[in-house]
Amino acid sequence: MITGFVTFFTIFAVVGAILYGRRLIKTEKSDAVFGNPERAKGGIHWVVVGSSFLLLSWLYYSWDIAKSFYPKSANELCQVAKVNESLLSLKYLFPIVERQHKSTAIIKRENINIEDKIILIKKDSNLKSEDKEIFINILRNTKQMIPSLTDERYIEDDTKNIINELTIRLNQLTKNFPKDSYPDLSEEEENEINEGLNKQLGWGATGMEVPPLPESKIGLKFHAAAAELNSISDEFFEMRNHNPEYLRQSEAIFIEIKEYMDGLEDGLELDYIKDIKKLVRRIEYASIFPPNTLNELENAIRDFDKVQNNEQGNLRIIDIFLFPAGTIVASGPQCSEAGPGRWLPKPSDTFRIFGEMLKPSVGYKMIPMLWYEMMGVNKIIGFILPDWIADIMPGKYPVHNQDGTVDPNFKSKVLDIVTGEFEAFKIPVPTGHIWDSFLRVFLGLTLGIILGVPLGLFMGLNRFAKGFFDPMVELYRPVPPLAWAPLVITVFGIDNLGKVFLLFMVSFSIMIISARAGASGTQLSKIHAAHSLGANKWQIIREVIFPNSLPEILTGIRVAVGMCWGTLVAAEFLAGTTGIGFVENVARKYMQYEVIWITIFVMGMLGLLFDVTIRKIIDKTIPWRGKG
């Protein structure tokens, strides 16, 4: 319902925006020539078109449009898929989906295999010539055995009867199929289906990919036909063209093989004879028939295919146009989506599951996505203040006295404070997967900026610093951050410390480079001017060099944010208990494609949030950027 509305709305938005855009071109009086940046300004309507196209493609390729406008189509296509699946084995026998008859292909292949084997045996110098003779003789006999399967004279009446009977059954089905009265179900069967239908959920409901039981009249037809076709197919493949002539010849071959094998020790000869035996057995298993025996069955299948295609009616058109690049496939009584419908979740499902996951009581793996928990201020103070503060206080820690109590003194009270062992009011603190990932990036980035920027400036201004730190920075900087990940995780552990340190390494080098470039790029005239006005070193750094390097530094931060995100997700893949990367990695193992897309979406949004924030900061703090 909502999807349908959104679809129409986006289509209107696209059309409207395009019309508006065209009118704007006609009415706008602009004397900007080609190449003037003025021409790229504005254009919100094209943003509307761009995002609408994105949304429409998503709706279309995830088959959400099909689900919205034809909610029954998946169920009906599932029944069609059942029919196709039941016919598949039979169809592979004939040039319907293949170029050749299966019998033809097998005979061709096996003839080649036999010839190859003979050549191989002839060439093998480790074989005795009498063994060679026996092998080649068996292979020749096997080759001569094939005509016993393909000669119409030998085929048994029983086999012919079964084929005829199956053909008749198929033709009967073809005749009955288009009739309104089909299928003629017994009350029992009908009740069974109805009972199942009561419990059946809709397409895309939680835990139901495609509802498998037929919900409509046309679906019921296909469902019933699939059952009949399955039984026809099973019966056909139980039958073998093992006529007396074939049995006589193959028995002779098997006896010869057995006689040869008896009393044979392990060795080259045994390997050869086993291979040959397998070849003979392969021909035994294969469904080889004389060239024209199955013609009528083939025609019956083709006829049925035509009829069932006709009966699909609108469904075929829906399948082609609203189920792009895939369709519903059946596997026994189950149906599933094959193609983008499977790995590209429908927007409606995605948002539903995302909404569900955002509930703090659900979350993912019992941890909310983004929520808050009440935390005492004492814990925060205990975390921030180092414990050794208590150790350097004068006096000694109290010792218990004779009546079995401990009297606190000043030193122990300080210890209580620095370890957070006191009562305090509680404040809400964010928690959850999104917050954890965010915090890791934020901490790594902040540490990188705090340490990297001063060092970078220093390196830009001081010969010693440049020479001393350059080898270190330049050696570790070009290494992709992920290459460090296994090492960092081993050294710093799998907790936040390791991940934050990894992100710190990423942002640190970027900040050094950008601060250094900013510092050395300061115009000399500005520094000279400051000198002339009597500025000291500190003032020059604070008032001239730092503001001048700010554009470089802030651009560096933007780059660092992107790098940090990329590294974080991979680090969370390696070892994680929380975080967006952890969620994605676990979802992959359980094939929860919706969750995978949600994590991708969340990461994109958070990255965008960081970027927009920094862009705002840039605009606020350095309005002179790019203006000389």
Partner: protein, 326 residues
């Protein structure tokens, strides 16, 4: 603008057409397998027995986890997964992946998949409830995940209260040695060997066997390949069983197997000593029959790993078939 529209429509048409031409003849069989997981049929693999018997070339690709095998089967790059763990298979069929179980490849005791608790943590079987609130390294969604959950039940700890860290076996054993985790659940010879340097098994191999914890690896085939080439699947299974019988008779060429499994001879012998390769009769009568070991496992695991979107199947017998056993 016109060009953009025609490009878009063109790509739509191209995608629709490419999807409808999905069928093609099997000119090769593509099989997935594991390295460092030695099985007798690797001798047949090296000697090209499969290629000869199937009549077409067989392409073997190694994978790191069973879940990746499923992904490759779904994308149409793999026809047969040999020795896929039962856990990834269950996850796949819960997600309605069109694949079927045709054979049991390997059964194994907990010598090769186990939970190892760190000596430094002071936790043993007796006080295992202390694990609650501590970190445990588990490769999520693998047989080791199953072993972890079962082990917790046996020792009476609540698996839900343990903080699970998702780590591959190699990382897990390193984390255990570093003291980052109190316990690590692992598979693979090397990882277990390394982890045992800093820890002990939570349950001994015998205790685990007595508690009914054991592993099953299976052979799974895509539904499409099964329909198209039933004979090939039968031949594949038959040869595997032939070489299993050869192994049971002590006639396997261990050097070839070890080399193909990328392990040393002693390690291969030790690993395969802990493996069972049940024959077809045993599979039919003890594993795949109604109420058999495998069917019980599928039910238990199916519910264990079910999620809201991918619930357990009501009846797992529909994804299992004995039709292709010799």
């Amino acid at each position: 603008m016109k060009k953009i529209i025609s490009l878009f429509l063109g790509s739509v048409v191209a995608l629709v057409i490419s999807a409808s031409m999905a069928y093609s003849a099997a000119t090769q069989v593509r099989v997935a397998f594991f390295l460092e997981w030695a099985t007798p049929n690797q001798e047949a693999k090296v000697k090209k027995v499969f290629d000869d018997a199937l009549g077409v070339p067989v392409k073997w690709t190694n994978f790191a986890t069973g879940g990746e095998m499923t992904e490759a089967m779904l994308s149409g790059d793999i026809d047969i997964s040999y020795s896929q763990g039962l856990t990834p298979f269950v996850n796949a069929v819960n997600a309605k992946a069109p694949i079927k179980l045709v054979d049991i490849a390997v059964t194994y005791g907990m010598g090769n998949t186990t939970c190892i608790v760190s000596n430094a943590s002071g936790i043993t079987k007796a006080n295992a409830a202390q694990l609650e609130g501590k970190k445990v390294a588990v490769p999520v969604g693998t047989m080791a995940d199953y072993v972890f959950k079962e082990t917790m039940k046996v020792v009476g700890a609540d698996a839900g209260k343990v903080t699970v860290v998702d780590m591959n076996p190699e990382d897990g054993s390193a984390a255990l040695q570093n003291g980052d985790v109190a316990m690590a659940c692992l598979f693979g010879g090397k990882s277990i060997e390394n982890a045992l340097k800093a820890g002990t098994r939570m349950l001994s191999v015998k205790e685990a066997t007595d508690a009914g914890i054991s592993g099953i690896d299976i052979t799974s085939v895509t539904n499409k390949f099964l329909k198209e080439n039933p004979g090939m699947v039968r031949t594949f299974v038959e040869i595997t069983h032939e070489y299993n019988a050869k192994f049971r008779a002590g006639k396997s060429n261990m050097n070839i197997i070890a080399k193909d499994a990328a392990m040393d001879l002693a390690g291969t012998k030790k690993q395969m000593g802990g493996f069972g390769f049940p024959d077809a009769a045993e599979i039919k009568s003890k594993y795949m029959n109604k109420g058999g070991i495998l069917m019980k496992y599928l039910d238990v695991m199916g519910n264990m790993f079910a999620t809201a979107e991918n619930p357990a199947l009501k009846n797992y017998s529909k994804v299992v078939t004995t039709k292709y056993l010799p």
